[in-house]
């Protein structure tokens, strides 16, 4: 080959390679990589299912690559997200326990979604009409949308049909008031300890959730739903609720003493050693899969009224992400809360879908007909109340939980418990209160 021909050939080859590279680059820009921190707060194979959903999202969206990061419990996920934000490596999206969102807003650790919502041509309030109203107080803080609800639950009563029959109770008529409930429990409890009437988790987080349920059923507010600096731990409604708990464990003795965790409750229920269990609706599928004897579900009993605090998680936008990451995150979020996907997640887990439209889809309606327990969980939503959230939520929550746990071990009277809880909570809330409600003016 002559010199010129060789050079031409070489030049041509280079040119072709370069052109190919440029074209390839233009056609397939590297997908933007974002991460999603998510917790698995209830029993079941949720981590696998989430990974499956994310894989599907990645297939459908070639320009975004999401890594789903399993981060433990709600508390763990909160810790990890906060630490990551502080270290300058925030995840693009985090599935955060709904009652932690207020603190993210107070501390400026999360971005409001309003700008992204408006870019789609909607306003914050019309956007939120897509979701059940009870979810609003925990997600919309100071008028801005900080959380997009993804999975929600309420506590539910699960009861063992055979045990009911054995105790002379009618399985079609579960107890509706506190008095009936304790009565039924007394009949279900066997003196030799082989069966208990009632069990529910008393571990941190679950304990506070269920305590707020009892207080609200007793007519109380438990905490100020619009302002993170006030709690009503020593109100009469709270005292009444704690008196009930004390009676369950120490007077009527229908509940085992001490703190039981969720596993202990489900183990006992599956083994037929428990009559009635209070557990999250998020565990519906888990119970359905593992309970071999017939069981049913019912509303939580009421005193003054029915009340079921919502639990669950919402998707948040941690602070410190670039606009590109935020845009990709918004695409992911909208896909996750689309009626189809939200419905699928709900059917798999037992959480109810915060997206109202999910219940209009035929798959969901069929599911409701096939699974009356899921229907009952959904029906209880009309009595839904918001989830406890204040400044320094975990510590303030624990101020009451520590007292309730002490009641379970008969170490404190209800009256002393509510007084101590209020005192501790006020102390913890003071720095925030001093800066807000008690701020000196003039």
């Amino acid at each position: 080959m002559t010199e010129i021909t060789r050079r031409t050939a070489l030049g041509g080859a280079l040119a072709i390679t370069a052109a190919a590279a440029v074209t390839r680059g233009a056609l397939a820009a590297d997908p933007i990589e974002i991460d999603l921190f998510f917790p698995v707060p209830v029993q079941g194979k949720l981590a696998d299912k989430m990974k499956e959903l994310i894989d599907r999202f990645n297939e459908q969206h070639v320009d975004i690559k999401v890594t789903a990061v399993y981060a433990g419990s709600y508390d763990d996920t909160n810790l990890k997200t906060r630490a990551a934000i502080k270290a300058g490596k925030p995840p693009a999206v985090a599935l955060m326990s709904a009652n932690f969102i207020r603190e993210y807003a107070i501390n400026g650790d999360a971005e409001p979604f309003d700008a992204l919502i408006e870019k789609d041509g909607k306003t914050a309030s019309t956007y939120f009409d897509n979701f059940w109203p009870a979810l609003k107080p925990n997600a919309v803080i100071d008028g801005k949308v900080y959380g997009i609800p993804y999975q929600n639950s309420t506590p539910l009563m699960y009861y063992n049909v055979d045990a009911f029959k054995d105790a002379g109770l009618d399985p079609e008529k579960p107890p509706e008031t506190w008095a009936d409930w304790v009565d039924a429990a007394k009949k279900l409890t066997k003196a030799d300890g082989s069966r208990w009437g009632i069990m529910f988790p008393g571990t941190y987080d679950y304990c506070g959730w269920l305590t707020s349920a009892f207080v609200m059923q007793n007519g109380g507010q438990y905490y100020n739903h619009d302002y993170g600096g006030e709690v009503y731990y020593n109100a009469p409604s709270s005292l009444g609720a704690l008196t009930l708990l004390d009676a369950l464990v120490n007077k009527a003795k229908v509940m085992p003493p001490g703190v039981s965790d969720a596993n202990a409750c489900t183990s006992a229920f599956f083994a037929g050693r428990l009559g009635m269990m209070l557990l999250s609706t998020g565990s519906l599928s888990f119970v359905r899969d593992n309970m071999k004897s017939p069981y049913k579900v019912a509303f939580l009993p009421k005193a003054v009224r029915n009340a079921a605090p919502i639990g669950g998680g919402s998707l948040i936008l941690p602070k410190g992400n670039t606009p590109e990451r935020q845009a990709a995150a918004w695409t992911l979020i909208n896909w996750l809360v689309s009626p189809e996907t939200a419905g699928e997640w709900s059917r798999f887990t037992g959480y109810f879908s915060p997206r109202k439209a999910a219940y209009d889809l035929p798959e969901m309606q069929k599911f409701m007909t096939d699974h009356p327990d899921a229907k009952i969980a959904l029906d209880q939503l009309k009595f839904a109340a918001p989830w406890f959230d204040t400044f320094n939520t975990v510590a303030v929550r624990k101020a009451m939980e520590d007292q309730v746990q002490a009641i379970f071990s008969a170490k404190v009277t209800p009256a002393d418990a509510v007084a101590a809880a209020q005192k501790a909570a006020d102390e913890l809330l003071r720095p925030y209160v001093d800066q807000t409600a008690l701020k000196a003016i003039g």
Partner: protein, 272 residues
């Protein structure tokens, strides 16, 4: 009378040892029973046995990743430690300089001021060094080891000086001295140190927990805790037992094989 006393002592010790091994016995038995048998607590079951739990545990956890991270962490720490402790150990063993004893005592203080105690400020240091959520970040606080320096000083001091003198007459500098002459002679001490160091760091939990947030940087202990106490495990205790088995078994096997080495290493760490 003497024989009687010895017999009682043996019986009591046997009872204690049997009591001690019960949790391990349960782990072995339960991990071999797939499904969720109602008497999962039984130490002598008749039920169906199988390897299903191990498969399930391996699938639900990320054991290969955790093993890799743990190996890298322990290996990385040991590697850097060997360098820092032989250098400092030599200085304290062979060189005289003002304030030597004072500085050595300050070094020894680190035996008490271990990283888990100083989690809060150490995390802040990691963040400022951009090492948060990285494996080197987990390893860094352990690179200086007072225990290792102490051990090396001990070991070097017990080596006769003839070897070093000969090498120095040949014109060897400090670096060659340490690497070519002393370290080979200090092998038993180094092995003892390696065993203690790897065991300690393999089992470390709180610091690796706080120093990383992404699952891709998790080590075995952190992985096991999310695996075993997480709600995903639910009440499947056989799977929890199998997962615990994966975490516990490597060191146990090494110990059973190298028993005498292990024991003498841990013990020599106390001999003054």
């Amino acid at each position: 009378m003497r024989a009687d006393g010895r017999l009682w002592a043996m019986l009591a010790a046997s009872a204690a040892a049997l009591l001690w091994v019960v949790p391990f016995a349960w782990m072995a038995v339960a991990s071999l029973r797939p499904g969720v048998p109602p008497d999962i607590a039984s130490l002598a079951p008749s039920g169906p046995f199988g390897l299903g739990n191990f498969a399930e545990a391996w699938k639900s956890g990320s054991f290969p990743l955790w093993y890799l991270n743990t190996f890298l962490m322990c290996g990385g720490i040991l590697g850097v430690q060997l360098v820092t402790i032989s250098m400092a150990g030599y200085a304290f063993a062979r060189l005289a300089f003002p304030g030597r004893d004072l500085i050595f005592s300050l070094f020894l203080l680190q035996l008490l001021l271990i990283p888990p105690l100083l989690i809060v400020p150490n995390l802040q240091t990691l963040v400022s060094l951009h090492l948060y959520d990285t494996l080197p970040g987990i390893m860094a606080p352990y690179f200086a080891s007072a225990f290792g320096v102490f051990l090396m000083r001990q070991t070097f001091r017990s080596i006769p000086r003839d070897f070093e003198e000969a090498a120095m007459l040949d014109g060897a500098g400090v670096a060659i001295l340490i690497r070519r002459v002393l370290l080979p002679l200090a092998r038993p001490g180094l092995i003892a140190f390696a065993i203690v160091s790897v065991t300690a760091h393999w089992n470390e939990f709180l610091w690796p927990l706080m120093a990383v947030s992404s699952p891709k940087n998790q080590v075995l202990t952190v992985g096991l805790s999310t695996f075993a106490s997480g709600a995903e495990a639910g009440s499947d205790w056989g799977v929890v037992a199998a997962g615990t088995f994966f975490v516990a078994v490597p060191l146990l096997i090494l110990f059973l094989v190298f028993q005498r080495r292990f024991i003498s290493s841990f013990v020599s760490s106390g001999i003054k």
